[in-house]
């Protein structure tokens, strides 16, 4: 199915000089490895999206609706009225080029249309050519062009070659955010039925079953039960969490990627152990079994439709507040959109940690707390018994997820946690961390198998930064707080930086947790022998180390 990806040496030869031919005269070439499969008709039908049909981006005829031009014009006009961001970003760019070399897809591909400024010009040129007098009359001279099917193909190609990571907007003197432009461009081509399978199918699944993998209630529960068996085997503790339980204090929601695939499942085992360790009164939900929101990659409306179930379930179950797992775009949505979309959640209370009594004032309205904030607060208040030496064989670095960095600002909490559960944490360079962090290259729904070459290209800047700490400091683990990261980094690391593993933050927390009644921790959560394990004779030592780790 997917094309064979060329070797890193071949892919790494990238020319960043623009071609002689102007960008309006070039067309994208849909080649295996650089484009995404089209959304299936059935997926669009499930959620009632327009123009469901079977087609492929390599087809000449994309079977657009009869009045597709009118739909695009009207769609643009409507969004110009609804979003000041869109309207402003269409008008004020001065093309200074500060953003040009900030995009991971540009760095990894050299394609000039991956410069954020040009990605935006793809739609700005239509805005000018179709909606502005000067552009209508002067055309190209005024930076305008006419709407053609080739333009739609180009939009499809390049707006699904942007991960909405917002790195460009950090450097733009006016804060022009390509994510915002991409979100709206995708919304517009969705009106024509042009979406990708890896977004549309998860959306349909999420809508029907509650999670984007389409795990039905019993399967969701069973998957978690398998992990409970693993915990019992490797840690020696039997955990019995509850599902869909009314009257629990807290509803826990995490991306469903953590439920079924490595290394996400180890993160999930981490959550389970942490909650058991502190005796949290919480429940899982099979209905709100997805924090990730692929609707965000489709339209604002779809984002709202999929997000709604989290609040709805919290109301039905009668919980006090919601705790959210490690996920990137889930947190962009929760932090910046959820309360606006589906709030106010009046039936919930201001989140208070039942262990420390900390009131999460920063989540006073949304009533949803990030697991990393929650854990950092537990550690700060000495509520966890930790033995960081259990992670001594791991030299982790931390990948700041785009969304939690640039759409939230959670930078110190994960580092605080890391420094308390590991002894060897190494940060990457400031140019590539925190607000300057580089995307994994597969965010915003682009983590499809057929897109591997492009994903490796987009992930190159991140991988390159990891390579540096791998070579200089022996870093052997890339930790992160994002489910898509966990899903895509293993392949990316194998390709560019072999020898670096991938884990969620909560897995490292769980490794260091000293569970009540635990057995010998000879094996880690992955069932591998733990090199940092010390035989029982030194039993006393870890407990002390744990206390030292707490500040």
């Amino acid at each position: 199915m997917a094309a064979k990806t060329p070797s890193p040496t071949v892919v790494g030869q990238i020319d960043h000089h623009p071609p002689a031919k102007g960008w309006m005269d070039t067309k994208p070439e849909f080649k295996p490895g650089n484009f995404l499969y089209a959304a299936k008709a059935s997926a669009l039908e499930t959620v009632g999206l327009p123009n469901p049909r079977d087609w492929s981006p390599t087809d000449d005829d994309w079977k657009l609706p009869a009045d597709w031009k009118g739909i695009v014009r009207e769609g643009m006009a409507e969004r110009l009225q609804r979003f000041r961001s869109f309207k402003l970003f269409m008008d004020i760019c001065v093309r200074c080029g500060a953003c040009a070399d900030k995009c991971h897809f540009f760095i990894g591909s050299g394609d000039p249309k991956n410069m954020p400024v040009l990605r935006a010009e793809l739609i700005r040129s239509i805005y000018r050519g179709e909606m502005k007098t000067a552009g209508k009359i002067l055309g190209k001279l005024a930076g305008g062009r006419k709407l053609t099917e080739d333009v739609i193909k180009e939009w499809f190609y390049y707006f699904f070659q942007c991960t909405e990571c917002r790195r460009c907007s950090v450097f733009c003197p006016y804060g022009i955010d390509t994510a915002e432009i991409t979100i709206i461009a995708r919304e517009i081509i969705n009106l024509l039925g042009c979406n990708i399978d890896w977004i549309a199918s998860p959306v349909a699944n999420c809508f029907m079953t509650g999670n984007h993998l389409g795990l039905k209630p019993h399967t969701f529960k069973e998957n978690i039960e398998y992990l409970l068996d693993d915990i019992e085997e490797y840690v020696g503790v039997r955990i019995e969490p509850s599902f869909n339980r009314k009257g629990a204090e807290i509803l826990f929601v995490t991306p469903s990627g953590d439920v079924f695939a490595e290394p996400g499942i180890f993160t999930l085992m981490g959550y389970l152990m942490l909650f058991e360790h502190i005796g949290l009164d919480y429940t899982w939900s099979t209905y709100a079994s997805e924090g990730g929101n692929f609707g965000f990659f489709t339209s604002h409306e779809m984002m709202k439709r999929l997000n709604a179930k989290m609040y709805a379930e919290s109301k039905r179950l009668g919980v006090k507040w919601i705790l959210g797992g490690e996920c990137g775009h889930m947190w962009r949505v929760v932090h910046q959109y959820m309360d606006t979309l589906n709030g106010p959640a009046d039936w919930l209370e201001m989140p208070v940690s039942p262990l420390t009594g900390t009131r999460f004032e920063n989540a006073a309205s949304t009533k949803m707390v990030h697991i990393t904030e929650f854990t950092a607060d537990l550690i700060k208040n000495n509520k966890l018994k930790l033995d960081p030496s259990q992670n001594d064989h791991i030299i982790p670095t931390f990948h700041d997820s785009c969304n939690t960095s640039r759409g939230m600002g959670m930078l110190e909490e994960p580092r605080y946690v890391l420094n308390n559960v590991c002894n060897n944490f190494v940060d990457m360079a400031p140019q590539v961390t925190r607000e300057n962090t580089f995307c994994c290259g597969s965010g915003s729904g682009l983590n499809a198998g057929e897109y591997l070459e492009m994903r490796f290209r987009g992930g190159l800047p991140r991988a390159n930064a990891v390579k540096r700490v791998h070579e200089d400091h022996g870093v052997n683990m890339l930790s992160c707080v994002c489910a898509i990261d966990r899903a895509v980094f293993p392949a990316l690391m194998d390709y560019w930086v072999p020898g670096v593993g991938v884990c969620g933050l909560s897995e490292l927390v769980a490794n260091a947790l000293v569970m009540e009644g635990q057995g010998e921790r000879e094996y880690n959560l992955r069932g591998e022998e733990n090199p940092s394990y010390k035989p029982p004779a030194e039993e006393e030592a870890p407990a002390e180390a744990g206390e030292e780790g707490e500040e």
């Binding site: 961001s85 080029g97 010009e121 907007s169 450097f171 003197p173 209630p217 910046q336 606006t340 909490e413």
Partner: protein
């Protein structure tokens, strides 16, 4: 194409003023009518554009956070780059507008075989932009002396500061007027920005006529201004008479003003009139940018979307209806037991087939 077109366009504009005033003597047109029209267009256009932007709401709170958020009390937030209050937003905007803070972050990609990727600090764009914009501001403020009588204290101070080089240069000796730094810095800034656009391949690639034109136009304004002041040695008294006439709405056209001045004035008029319809509106737009001017408190304080509308969701009851059997079998709690659900289903089906619903709908219509 855009480059040549813009250059020629500016030369044509110079030609128009040259012929209009120098050849045809249309001093009233170029000295009174066009300036009034341009200023009117500028202000009307500016207001129109800003109001037009402001009419589009900000449905979501989407600041780009460039530092630590305010979360737990013992974690120090970065108040400027991740503003947690209105005051912090004001601070962020002040730094953005006055010091181009975002541009100051700029770094350059250094891509080498390997691949080996490094990023080095790149401050040229920031430097050129600062030179250009600040010098432009000083020049504009300095020009206000033509429209005010008496000259205010701050204007005199500004001029002294701007002309501080006069002691260092032998301008007294050769009888030049005071050298004013701002004009030279402005010319330097605009030339460097122009040069950067020509020299850096990626920036040249993305440039449109709309990018070249203002650069050439402003270069033209600088050059004609400098020529008028230092070469032609314009009679400032006459110019002031014209300017005061315009300002007091009693326009007069004094004799003896060089055609250089009219070219200068005409180019300025074109800039004013062009401004609201161009990318130069970033002047107004920067204040409105939702990624910069919003507080990052969307979890603490609810942000309301004025055009929010209800949407179709798949609610829990539909979900339970889809999977009730599996849920019961897996030991998951359900709202309705299998029996209850079956009874309801039977009750719903018993009285009626789909026809009834349809006829009901018809009746309603």
């Amino acid at each position: 194409m855009g480059f040549l077109f813009s250059l020629v366009a500016v030369l044509v504009l110079v030609g128009i003023a040259l012929v209009g005033v120098g050849g045809l003597g249309l001093k009233v047109l170029f000295g009174v009518i066009i300036p009034y029209a341009a200023v009117l267009t500028f202000f009307a256009g500016l207001v129109y554009r800003v109001v037009d932007w402001a009419r589009s709401p900000v449905p979501f709170r989407i600041p780009t956070t460039c530092g630590q958020e305010k979360s737990l009390p013992w974690i120090k937030p970065n108040k400027i780059d991740n503003p947690c209050s209105t005051g912090a937003v004001v601070l962020r905007m002040v730094f953005e507008v006055l010091t181009f803070r975002s541009l100051f972050r700029n770094m350059k990609l250094d891509y080498r075989e390997g691949p080996k990727i490094r990023y080095s600090s790149e401050k040229f764009l920031w430097l050129f932009a600062m030179m250009f914009h600040w010098a432009f501001l000083v020049v504009i403020l300095r020009h206000l002396r033509f429209f005010t009588e008496p000259i205010a204290m701050w204007q005199q101070t500004l001029e002294h500061l701007d002309g501080f080089l006069e002691f260092n240069l032998a301008s007294y000796a050769i009888g030049l007027p005071t050298i004013q730094l701002s004009g030279l810095v402005l010319l330097g800034g605009v030339s460097l920005l122009l040069l950067r656009r020509i020299v850096v391949p990626s920036v040249r690639y993305i440039s449109l006529a709309a990018d070249w034109f203002p650069l050439f136009l402003i270069t033209g304004i600088c050059l004609t201004g400098i020529v008028s002041r230092y070469v032609v040695r314009l009679d400032v008294i006459n110019v002031k008479e014209l300017a005061m006439g315009l300002a007091t709405l009693h326009p007069v056209v004094p004799e003896g003003i060089s055609v250089w001045f009219y070219i200068h004035l005409f180019l300025v008029c074109v800039l004013f009139a062009y401004f609201p319809f161009s990318k130069l509106m970033h002047l107004g737009g920067v204040f409105l940018s939702p990624t910069r001017n919003l507080v990052n408190n969307s979890r603490a304080v609810r942000h309301v979307n004025p055009w929010s509308y209800p949407v179709k969701t798949h609610d829990y009851h539909e979900y339970e209806d889809d999977f009730r059997e599996e849920m019961v079998e897996a030991g998951l709690p359900v709202e309705k037991s299998l029996e209850e659900a079956q009874a309801e289903k039977d009750a719903a089906q018993a009285p009626a087939a789909p026809e009834t619903q349809e006829t009901e709908e018809k009746r309603e219509e």
